[in-house]
Amino acid sequence: MKAAWEGIVAIATGFATTLKHLFRKPITEEYPEYKRVLPERARAVIILTRDPDGEERCVACYLCSAACPVSCISMQSVEREDGRRYARWFRINFGRCIYCGLCEEACPTSAIQLTPYFETCERDILKLVYEKEDLLVDHGGKDKEYNFYRYAGVVSKVGDKGAHIKEDKPVNIKSNMP
């Protein structure tokens, strides 16, 4: 008898809750009608950023592709005419990417960055293979300041030997003067 009573109370309470919510304003955000702003550090589609001088930051050092646990990044590095190293082509297969962000952690030049943008569904899986022109953006992403070549000490348009940050002027090898 007691058990039956408890059962009825439980059902009634459940229905009461349901009934109450029927007349409440919904709190579900309807996607895609409503798009919530995600935090800047949310991890989704990957971009290749540019340094403050507007040059490609990526030096194609292969660290991201080495760090990638699903091997979805491939590229080919070459030398530019002015001695700068860059990616001749750069490909990310988003069909395979797990958005773990290890590439961003590995990147020594702040070039590769994950963005909050995630709406990349495609019917043709080949469209998920992004080439360099799909990835390259014209801003610095989350890091506006860093320019690798100002520190690296290799000769490029950014600076000659001795002209980089914290560098002494080149040694004169033909003089014995201190």
Partner: protein
């Protein structure tokens, strides 16, 4: 033999072993930058510090500078030593630039490894970093001095080990600089080793600059096939192309280093013009169709003209498998050949070299380093086989004396004595030297042959007056030497010389010396070719057969007679006369363009193969990658095509022996292994020296040295009278000697763009006296009248060469193939000055 305890483990090592080496034998790798087994210790980097707890030394000491002694107890992981090493690494990193992402050494950098393993993660130094200006060092080496940690490995290798002095140390203290006095191409042909030994990225490989990281490369042990020494290499491939080649340590052959020709000679496998598609009469066809066409058309020729109307030409640059498949086909089908050499004289010389290489006389390249007297006969080490010069340099550094008997203007990076004599005099000079070097009393029990040989051999009297002094010094040096090695070339010498070199080595051995014999052969697998070659048919005889109409079909496997045959006009006429020319090759050659049926073959890197080097060492290289047209080429430099599929473009290539098997036997090959296995069985059954050949993958790291000597070849059988007769008459016409250069003459490496930049413009060398008689000056252009037209070439006048000869490089840019028969002589009137 001192016993030493390192990290609680005892080891007994030979006297004189450094502590760092003893630890290595225990499997303990003490960090090191400046120490290198080939270069020894200098104690410059201070990073191999360990703590000596007991024994003659106490406290923290450099393990590379201290010999292991009895009673030493060493700790490598003592707190004090670890702290010391950590500080050293931090100091070395003070000025090191922040450029690892754009440094090609990144990923296999010793400094990077040590920094990470030493736990140095954050820079504490806040001052300014020292910088240097870099230099242009040529097309092979990229210089980036900022990265230097001053270990001195480069200058020690370049100057002490290799004997060149245009790169070295400048300045002092904190400003020490490694480079040249001024920008310029490095003179040494061993510069690629700088990038191998540099523990950081000061010297990096320039042709593969910025291409990739070592962890991405398909790395595989391989062999160098750009000369007959068979040096060991490690080949790196990525995205279906070979990217770079490095030296691989070999106890028996090359040690730690290789030459630049070997290092950068692989580009033939990745040139854009490499033929990928089978052709019939110049039209692209599917591979199967071309194979079928070749088979059917050969069958037609055989049915009308009999099996002798088909001939086979192989080469010394093919693997043993391909060479043997030609042999098998000729044996089975009754075709003519196989021939692997252009003329009978070369066949004869190679066959002599192979059959006279007694196992007790044969020395390896590494054993040569231990000899105390070397006589080089008719060989130009730096041009024909550069690593031989490096090995001789080591012998010279240890006090060995070196003599060279050769008509060419020989340069070697060390002190040696050169007897520049004509080819006809080489035999006499060699005999005179050896005779003078031997104590007559020692040979009394040497055997009748040897004694007679000794008595009849010419003495030093035959030596020209101008060379008397030199020759007598040389004879004395030889007399003092106990481990004497005769190095004999086979390219330019007369047919009798290789056998005579062997006779002399035997004779020296009879005279109680530890004599050795070291032949140089023309190509990487000429040894295998000599084992297999038919002694009746050389390529010249094939041409004669074609001219007579006896031969209607010719199969050319991995050879380009248009590159190496001395009479192009005759060759062209003969080729036109053929009904069928089947060419199998992996390079874009003239023969490929002339072929009726062409089949594209895979390279050593794509198929692997067995090669036998000049000392009879059977060595195998496995396949490095699967082959196919590289991604760089199919993508036009840009990204790979956006398509799905598992086909490899250009993946229809097969090894030459597989195509040959298909053509000859008609088998369908699904897998390469059965063909290779049956082929190896055939080799074991038909070539006695190779009867014991193990399966491909069971060959040891250092290969297997085979003994191919047979006693049937004539020994101590030289007609001295005839030799002396030939040796006279220096007033005769000038002999044209066709020779090799380090860069630009070897067939495969001449496809290499970085090496092309190092090639010298071809020139003819002449002795001062001859040039004076002709009125030629240094740098003049001369016109030499050859049998089939004139050859215009620059003249280089040299003092240190024989008179009576003109040296012409078999250069890819020189059309020297206008000679009817070899040896070729020209009269003085046939050379004239064109312009000054």
């Amino acid at each position: 033999m001192p016993k030493i305890i390192i990290d609680d483990r005892e080891i007994e090592v030979p006297e004189g072993t450094k502590v760092i080496e003893a630890a290595e034998q225990l499997g303990i790798m003490i960090p090191r930058f400046c120490y290198h087994p080939a270069l020894g210790s200098v104690g410059a980097c201070r990073v191999c510090a360990v703590k000596f707890l007991e024994g003659p030394f106490k406290g923290v000491q450099m393990s590379c500078m201290i010999d292991a002694k009895d009673g030493m107890i060493v700790s490598t992981n003592d707190e004090e030593a670890v702290e010391f090493r950590r500080n050293i690494i931090e100091w070395l990193m003070l000025n090191h630039p922040h450029d690892c992402p754009v440094c090609d050494e990144g990923g296999h950098c010793l400094l990077q490894d040590m920094t990470v393993s030493g736990g140095h993660g954050m820079r504490r130094y806040l001052g300014l970093k020292r910088t240097y200006r870099d230099q242009y060092l040529g097309p092979l080496v990229q210089h980036e001095m900022n990265r230097c940690i001053h270990c001195y490995r480069c200058s020690r290798f370049y100057q002490e080990f290799a004997g060149y002095f245009d790169l070295g140390v400048m300045q002092s203290a904190n400003r020490t600089y490694f480079g040249r006095f001024k920008d310029g191409i490095l003179e040494s042909p061993f510069t690629g080793n700088l990038s191998d030994i540099c523990p950081t990225g000061v010297y990096t490989d320039r042709p593969s600059r910025f291409f990739g990281r070592r962890w991405d490369y398909q790395r595989s042990p391989s062999l160098c096939i750009n000369c007959s020494l068979g040096c060991h290499t490690t080949v790196s491939a990525r995205y279906r192309q070979v990217v770079r080649q490095e030296a691989r340590y070999s106890e028996a052959v090359n040690g730690y280093f290789i030459c630049d020709r070997g290092r950068h000679g692989f580009h033939y496998a990745r040139t854009e013009t490499r033929p990928w598609q089978a052709l019939i009469e110049g039209r692209e066809v599917p591979t199967e169709g071309a194979v079928r066409a070749a088979r059917e058309r050969l069958a037609e020729i055989v049915s009308s003209g009999g099996p002798r109307s088909v001939a086979c030409l192989g080469s010394g640059r093919s693997s043993l498998e391909t060479q043997a498949m030609l042999g098998q086909l000729c044996q089975k089908k009754g075709w003519q050949g196989p021939s692997y050499f252009m003329d009978k004289s070369l066949t004869g010389k190679a066959k002599t070299a192979v059959s006279r290489l007694d196992p007790e006389l044969a020395v390896s390249l590494r054993e040569l380093e231990g000899s105390d007297a070397i006589v080089v006969v008719g060989a130009d080490p730096i041009n024909e086989a550069p690593m031989l010069a490096l090995a001789m340099r080591q012998a010279q550094r240890r006090g060995g004396k070196i003599a060279v008997i050769d008509p060419r203007p020989i340069f070697l990076p060390f002190d040696f004595n050169h007897l520049p004599v004509r080819l006809d005099e080489i035999n006499l000079y060699l005999s005179a030297l050896v005779k003078a070097a031997v104590d007559p009393e020692l040979i009394v029990d040497a055997g009748k042959d040897a004694i007679e040989f000794y008595q009849e051999a010419p003495s030093l009297e035959i030596v020209a007056a101008s060379l008397q002094e030199k020759a007598s010094i040389l004879a004395q040096e030889l007399r003092a030497g106990q481990r004497v090695v005769i190095v004999c070339g086979t390219q330019i010498v007369r047919e009798t010389t290789p056998a005579l070199a062997a006779d002399h080595a035997k004779f020296l051995r009879a005279a109680k010396k530890q004599a050795g014999l070291f032949y140089l052969l023309p190509q990487a697998n000429s040894f295998g070719a000599a084992l297999l070659a038919s002694s009746e048919v050389s390529f010249l005889e094939i041409i004669q057969g074609v001219e007579k109409g006896e031969i209607k079909g010719l199969i050319v496997a991995e050879n380009d007679p248009f590159y190496s045959f001395h009479d192009r006009q005759r060759l062209e006429l003969a080729i036109e006369k053929l009904d069928l020319l089947v060419v199998l090759d992996c390079i874009e050659s003239t023969a490929v363009k002339k072929a009726n049926v062409f089949l594209p073959t895979s390279t050593l890197y794509e198929a692997g193969g067995i090669f036998i080097n000049q000392e009879g060492r059977v060595q195998a290289a496995p396949r490095a990658y699967l082959g196919g047209i590289s991604i760089a080429q199919i993508g036009g430099g840009d990204h790979p095509p956006r398509v799905y599929g598992s086909d490899i473009p250009g993946g229809e290539l097969r090894a030459a022996y597989q195509f040959l098997s298909q053509i000859g036997n008609g088998d369908q090959i699904e897998d390469d292994d059965p063909t290779r296995r049956s082929l190896l069985r055939w080799i074991a059954d038909n070539i006695p020296p190779l009867a014991e050949i193990p399966p491909f993958d069971e060959l040891s790291e250092n290969g297997m040295r085979i003994s191919s000597s047979n006693d049937t070849s004539p020994q101590f059988a030289v007609n001295w009278q005839e030799e002396k007769e030939k040796g006279k008459g220096s007033e005769g016409p000038l002999e044209i000697i066709l020779t090799d250069w380090t860069f630009g003459t070897e067939e495969l490496s001449s496809f290499s763009p970085p090496l092309m930049k190092l090639e010298r413009k071809p020139y003819a060398s002449m002795h001062t006296d001859d040039a004076a008689r002709l009125g030629l000056g240094h740098g003049d252009k001369a016109k030499i009248k050859l049998d089939e037209g004139n050859l215009e070439v620059d003249v280089c006048i040299e003092e240190n060469m024989a008179s009576g000869v003109v040296i012409l490089p078999r250069h890819r840019l020189l059309e020297w193939q206008k000679i009817k028969s070899l040896p070729k002589f020209v009269r003085f009137e046939e050379i004239e000055k064109v312009s000054g």
